[in-house]
């Protein structure tokens, strides 16, 4: 049976599409956004997280490791094969594996459990990432199963994938939450590691296909929260006939995860002031676009 790499399934998610939703997070992402709030989603393979606050210092992890890797260095030290034995030996849950392989059936078993809440709230399922289009075949198979069950289905995507991959997934989807981080290619490259040209091309193609799209922007002061960038985005959306945008003010929720991955969070972003947010909402409104703050 086909398996996908999943790093989380989050229930009662209320900010990734309408109503109460279950979000299936697919692992692996081609972008490296400097502010990424889910750093464990980036690598396609397994990631080992370590939470010192939960560690009771028993060193069962060291005893279990075939390569003699020390406490606190699992998953990052040279010689680590990411076998996961350390996490499985950890009695307190301080070590955790992210990136299990799951079958569609296993995922649906979890998804189905909240069906009555999708009904009562107008919610459903959201496929997110990482970048779910990196596992396009799996995403298609999952989407088929979700739709066969009759649930509303959304996807959260960066749009960075070959169009053919994107199209075959998008066709199955009720609502596409499409991230556009920056309109300026140089800035985009600098802060995400990739060019925005494929992203914007795919956005245009998706819009032409008539898919229901809500554009999403992580709003970061000092990066993209400028009148110029917002204006360019509004023009682009107007040109493509896109009418909805979610403005997501910057937050640092992911910071603790960097520590758990023993990485440093170096990005110095700021949440834009309320007056900027209000002005952006008005700018979009002028172009006939409904902007909302938050998801």
């Amino acid at each position: 049976m086909e398996k996908g790499k999943i790093f989380d399934i989050q229930r009662y998610s209320t900010h990734d599409g309408p109503g109460i939703r279950t979000v299936v997070f697919l692992k692996g992402c081609p972008l490296r956004c400097a502010w990424c709030s889910n750093p464990e989603s980036q690598k396609p393979g397994m990631t080992i997280m370590f939470q010192p606050s939960r560690c009771i210092g028993c060193k069962k992890c060291e005893q279990a490791c075939p390569n003699g890797i020390k406490l606190g260095e699992q998953g990052v030290a040279e010689g680590c094969t990411l076998c996961g034995d350390c996490a499985r030996a950890c009695p307190s849950g301080a070590l955790e594996i992210k990136g299990e392989e799951k079958t569609i059936a296993e995922i649906m078993d979890e998804v189905d459990r909240d069906a009555s809440f999708y009904n009562s709230s107008g919610g459903g399922v959201t496929i997110s990432g990482g970048e779910p289009l990196m596992q396009a075949d799996f995403a298609v198979a999952l989407a088929d199963e979700v739709k066969r069950s009759g649930y509303h289905l959304a996807i959260e995507t960066t749009g960075f994938a070959p169009w053919e991959n994107a199209r075959q997934v998008f066709e199955k989807i009720d609502l596409i939450l499409y991230d556009v981080k920056h309109m300026d290619d140089a800035m985009h490259k600098e802060y995400t590691g990739v060019s925005n040209s494929l992203i914007l091309e795919n956005l245009e193609k998706a819009a032409k296909e008539g898919f229901h799209i809500i554009v999403r922007v992580p709003l970061i002061k000092g990066f993209n929260a400028t009148d110029e960038n917002m204006g360019a985005l509004a023009d682009k959306m107007k040109e493509l006939g896109l009418r909805e945008i979610d403005l997501l003010p910057y937050h640092t929720f992911g910071e603790s995860k960097y520590k758990q991955m023993r990485r440093e969070y170096t990005f110095k972003g700021e949440k834009p002031p309320q007056e900027d947010l209000d002005r952006f909402v008005a700018m979009f409104k002028e172009k006939g676009i409904t902007a909302s703050i938050g998801g």
């Binding site: 209320t14 069962k60 307190s92 849950g93 459990r113 909240d114 009562s120 910071e255 938050g294």
Partner: protein, 820 residues
């Protein structure tokens, strides 16, 4: 929607403030300390000295008569309603006929002087103290309800309850019952003169040569005395109000006092004619019931249904405005809140916060299955929202026809107040009541008593409250061959114990054996308490306002009421399920630990660090094990469901003291209305196999244990829905914590309503919410291990608070305080 309904909804708007009158009364309340009033104790004692030798039911009617004739009465400044429980607001009367040992002990400062308790302290004057010690306590020593209980209680049951404490029955041994909805409707519609006539007619119809008839005479005489006593009580207020009106300079207040005097001259003797009279009547029923019975949870029933015709008529005929109705109701809310009940220290811990549990029910369906919500439902919500007080306990009934508009206003009240109202599901409660013999009409008209106990209107005489059977304790006993490690006592021995069990089936067998053993003693204790209440503290007034008592000529405890069930509030069911499921998984299925390793760890409270794995490592293994209720994980959820069903099946086989004497029912019924007893009852439970440390709280109601729910609110609701809720007619208690920021937007409110509806669609029984304050978040930051299940909305998403960085936590703390 009718425009009048819309007008009432406007009272819920944040821009609408309390009227100056109510604001002032509320301020006075918050500046008044709880205190002790000796008046009832003194008058009651004097009366009993005068009536020695007479039947107890008559003596108590005469004592009530003397009390209502002689006690201090007062009208608070600005109040629109008459009636007081003690000589000053927020004072608790003393009920020496129930127990005096603890009163004497605590007056002497053991364990705390009343005025210096760490929680719920009561001021007591030296004069009161002396009067109680000299004039009251000596008369009652050896003659109280508690003394009678102790003399009736079999020694084995005493040990089971008071030493091993496998079931905690103390509060009913030292207090009264309560737990009822008196028939306010009957008094409002017919008046007490009609009830007196009913009792007189019954008395005149008796054939005195028939011993059964003869036995009814004292009760019926007592009913007549008690009802007349209340008429005198009302007349005293009428006189007082007339006097005050005469002296009053302010013309508006003078008119109000005159009107109130007229009302008190008319009701409760005659049927109420107006909305104001109907509410006044309720207090002439409620207060005497409290003064007589020493119970809590004297509830009000479906006020939006039975007050509505008066509201509508008064509005139609131009006698009433919405603002006036709102003010009268606010006065009612304030009066209910100012009542106080003194409990002994141990039970104060179990019932901390001076709760009177005077439940008031709104919403739900009519007999025809239509939405019952009306103007009074919204005004009730408005009173609770604006007054922000702990009483009355507000219940919102939900059924499939309840509108989202009403639900949205109700959850907004929860958001403002923090925890009121609670939500109850008609679709489960009505079938649960039908299942134990309630008629369709009576079940559909249910209202809440106390915390979560569904009851009919004016048809049961109490007994929803009973002891606290401790399921977690029985797991501990089962693992130790029946021996209690704390006391060394073995009440119910069996051969196998942790170390020698051959399979997990053996563990369950041992647990079931303990359960059945302590269930028997819970039943024996419950019936002993009822027998004593019937003999020492019969309630003629309460019986006169409970249907069928007068017609049968019987007091409630003799089998007078239409329905009669004995409750009992199971505590620690989820703790037991978590512990058992963890043993199954860790010891028998996955074989991570041996029985001996686990036994040693439990015996040493996980503190022996010299074993391998060490005590703490074992605790972590147990904590981490995916074997806890509340995560939509079938194995632990079905374990909890199985315990609940087993308990219900066995408990429902036992009869109470009224079985076969007239009432429908006469049985014991299960419930999980544990109040705060999980803290007290946790103190005697050693370390448990779910990783809980010895002496710490066990689970309350059917809520998940505090750091074990990891999968969010929908998973939690699914776990709850798997329980056989319809087999818990005594009520389920289910607490859910939400941070204010999770529901501070319209979208958040909508999702919250969807969560409630989704859970109720799949047969959850009851839901109550804690909107957690910034203060709690600060504590969570300091002591994260105690708050791991706290969900917060961070920005565009939700997360577990303790997993966040300190800066984000600070941000949320600041925002939360801003929101509230």
């Amino acid at each position: 929607m009718k425009s009048m309904v819309r007008d009432c909804i406007e009272y819920l708007d944040d821009s609408v403030k309390l009227t100056p009158r109510i604001e002032k009364m509320r301020d006075v309340f918050f500046n008044t300390e709880l205190s002790i009033c000796h008046e009832r104790a003194v008058i009651w004692t004097q009366s009993h000295k005068e009536t020695e030798g007479e039947p107890m039911v008559l003596r108590r009617a005469k004592a009530l008569d003397k009390l209502l004739t002689e006690m201090t009465i007062y009208i608070k400044e600005g109040d629109l309603l008459a009636g007081n429980l003690a000589s000053v607001p927020r004072a608790a009367p003393i009920f020496p006929e129930f127990a005096v040992n603890w009163v004497e002990r605590e007056l002497g400062g053991d364990p705390y002087p009343f005025g210096a308790r760490p929680g719920d302290s009561y001021q007591v004057t030296d004069e009161s103290k002396q009067i109680l010690l000299d004039d009251v306590i000596p008369y009652w020593r050896h003659n109280t309800h508690e003394d009678r209980v102790m003399s009736l209680l079999p020694e084995e049951t005493r040990k089971a309850c008071r030493e091993v404490k496998g079931t905690e029955e103390d509060w009913v041994m030292t207090s009264g019952d309560g737990h009822t909805i008196p028939d306010y409707i009957k008094v409002i519609d017919k008046g007490m003169n009609a009830i007196i006539k009913e009792a007189e007619d019954k008395l005149n119809s008796l054939d005195m040569t028939n011993p059964d008839d003869l036995s009814q005479v004292p009760f019926l005489q007592a009913v007549i005395i008690a009802q007349n006593a209340v008429l005198k009580f009302a007349a005293r207020y009428a006189d007082k109000l007339t006097e005050m009106a005469k002296a009053e300079k302010d013309a508006q207040r003078k008119a109000e006092l005159t009107e109130m005097a007229d009302i008190c001259r008319h009701v409760p003797g005659e049927p109420a004619r107006t909305f104001h009279e109907a509410i006044q009547t309720m207090f002439f029923v409620n207060i005497p019931v409290q003064l007589e019975s020493n119970g809590h949870s004297i509830s009000f029933g479906r006020v939006d249904q039975y007050l509505y015709p008066f509201f509508q008529k008064d509005m139609d005929e131009g006698r009433l405005t919405i603002e006036k109705a709102y003010e009268i109701m606010a006065c009612m809310w304030l009066k209910v809140t100012e009542f106080a009940k003194l409990r002994d220290w141990d039970n104060t811990v179990a019932f901390v916060g001076n709760p009177l549990f005077q439940n008031l029910t709104i919403g739900g369906q009519t007999l025809n299955g239509m939405d019952a919500v009306n103007e009074i439902s919204y005004l009730s919500l408005a009173c609770t929202k604006k007054l922000k007080m702990t009483q009355p306990t507000l219940t919102v009934r939900w059924y499939r026809g309840t509108s989202d508009i009403f639900m949205k206003e109700a959850v907004k009240v929860v958001r403002t107040v923090g925890s009121l109202p609670a939500f109850f599901n008609d679709e489960v409660i009505i079938p649960a009541m039908l299942n134990i013999g309630y008629s369709y009409e009576d079940a559909v008209n249910y209202a809440m008593v106390g915390c979560v106990e569904p009851a009919p209107h004016g048809q049961i005489g109490g007994r929803y409250g009973a002891g606290f059977p401790n399921h977690a304790k029985w797991v501990e006993l089962a693992l130790n061959g029946g021996k209690d490690p704390r006391t060394g006592l073995t009440m119910c021995p069996h051969d196998k114990q942790l170390g020698t069990f051959e399979s997990f089936g053996d563990v369950m067998e041992a647990f079931h054996k303990q359960l059945k053993y302590f269930l028997r003693h819970h039943v024996i204790a419950g019936n002993v308490v009822d027998t004593s209440w019937g003999q020492i503290t019969p309630n003629p007034f309460l019986s006169s306002v409970i249907q069928n008592c007068i017609q049968r000529g019987k007091e409630i405890k003799d089998g007078g009421a239409k329905y009669d069930f004995t409750g009992g509030q199971s505590v620690g069911i989820v703790s037991a399920a978590n512990a058992l499921c963890t043993i199954k998984k860790v010891v028998f299925d996955d074989k991570v630990l041996t029985q001996d390793q686990l036994k040693h760890a439990l015996d040493t409270d996980f503190e022996d660090m010299d074993t391998n794995p060490s005590g703490e490592e074992i605790r972590q293994i147990l904590l981490k094990s995916d074997s806890k209720f509340g995560n939509d994980n079938d194995e632990p959820d079905l374990m909890a469901a199985g315990i609940m069903k087993y308990w219900s099946d066995h408990k429902m086989q036992y009869k109470n003291t009224r079985y076969g004497k007239g009432p429908i029912g006469g049985k014991f019924i299960p419930s999980t209305a544990t109040v705060a007893s999980h803290v007290l009852t946790g103190q005697i439970v050693g370390a448990t196999a779910d990783g809980r440390k010895a002496g710490t709280p066990i689970t309350e109601g059917t809520s998940a244990f505090h750091d074990t729910e990891k999968k969010g609110p929908t998973a939690l609701m699914n776990s709850y829905a798997k329980l056989p809720n319809v087999l818990m007619p005594g009520g389920q208690l289910f607490n859910v914590k939400i941070t204010p920021s999770a529901v501070d937007t319209d979208k958040g409110l909508d999702n919250w309503i969807s969560l409630v509806k989704g859970a109720f669609e799949k047969k959850a029984m009851q839901l109550q919410f804690n909107i957690v304050s910034g203060e709690t978040l600060k504590k969570a930051k300091k002591d994260p291990k105690q708050y791991t299940d706290l969900i917060v909305r961070v920005a565009g998403y939700s997360g577990y608070f303790v997993d966040l960085c300190p800066d984000v936590q600070n941000d949320i703390i600041a925002r939360t305080e801003h929101t509230l």
